[in-house]
């Protein structure tokens, strides 16, 4: 049986400036709505979660990824396929524990912060890109994987790189990916 031809559907691209500026306007609006950084971070995570649960379907449809056999494979796919597809960057992946359930995505370039020089005054705990954590968490949950996703380092807070930590919480489901009902 021959492999079906890999169709590349014509998918819509977006103006990068528009995307980045809109994200910035969103964060600025949330800063107006919520006084505490933790609340803004929480809301960004929540919104990201909502996006991730839907985005994963688009991702699986467009990327034709195979079934994964390890958390390490999954993290590689997030970095090399998903990030590339949606943000045009490929973070590097490191594994943080011997049991291979904790990983980091290291972003030396982050398009979302292109127009941001520094965090606004009085917003030192703001996780500007927290939407990304929610997206990853929501997407993983839709394929039956629970994970904690947080920022471990942030260039906007003075760190050299931006680092997203993914900690897988449950055993990998042995069955194939299936839609959450």
């Amino acid at each position: 049986m021959s492999r079906p031809a890999h169709r590349r559907p014509e998918y819509h691209k977006i103006n990068k400036d528009l995307f980045v500026l809109t994200y910035g306007a969103l964060v600025a609006q949330l800063c107006k709505d919520y006084e505490k950084d933790e609340d803004v971070n929480k809301y960004l995570d929540k919104m990201g979660y909502g996006i991730g649960t839907r985005l994963v379907e688009d991702f699986l449809a467009r990327s034709c990824v195979r079934r994964c056999h390890s958390y390490s494979e999954i993290t590689d796919i997030i970095a090399q396929v998903a990030f590339k597809m949606y943000l045009g960057i490929t973070p590097s992946v490191t594994c943080n524990n011997p049991s291979r359930t904790e990983f980091s995505l290291i972003l030396d370039k982050n398009p979302l912060v292109e127009f941001v020089e520094e965090l606004p005054a009085g917003r030192s705990s703001l996780c500007y890109c927290n939407l990304l954590c929610g997206i990853i968490r929501g997407a993983l949950e839709m394929v039956h994987l629970a994970a904690d996703v947080t920022f471990l380092q942030d260039t906007l807070k003075g760190d050299r790189v931006t680092e997203i930590g993914i900690t897988f919480l449950k055993k990998l489901d042995e069955k194939k990916y299936r839609r959450k009902k």
Partner: protein
Amino acid sequence: MPLHTKKPRSPTSVSPGGSPGAILLGQTCLHQGPGQKTSLSVLEGMGFRVGQALGERLPQETLAFREELDVLKFLCKDLWVAVFQKQMDSLRTNHQGTYVLQDNSFPLLIRMASGPQYLEEAPKFLAFTCGLLRGTLSTLGIKSLVTASVASLPTCKFQVVIQKT
């Protein structure tokens, strides 16, 4: 609350595959604020801010317009192509400061429905874009009021009324 911005660089580039993310981003924006009216003005305000910033990143020569009509044509062609990868389908004016810009297949509505379905929800998806137009006009030195109307998805009309100072 201003976010510090870097100096604008040269022409914008297109990032791959950002569209579903952006549309979903727009959808989640809807969960803001109590009541439709406040949400719409919040969205319009965000669009205004983005429109201003986009306007600032335009190549300098486009800013030397002869007439008001040239600015509107610029919105219909250059801005719309930069943002939505298509031109506005028609531009009409009464030559007295009111312009109607019509898009027959507005990208933010096209995935929703075809026809009269979801007419009630459509304004939420247009508020941001109205602000975007108003913001870009503002950067080009023009004060305006921008509203949108939809009779049948995905066709929509943006009405731009120039405010004389």
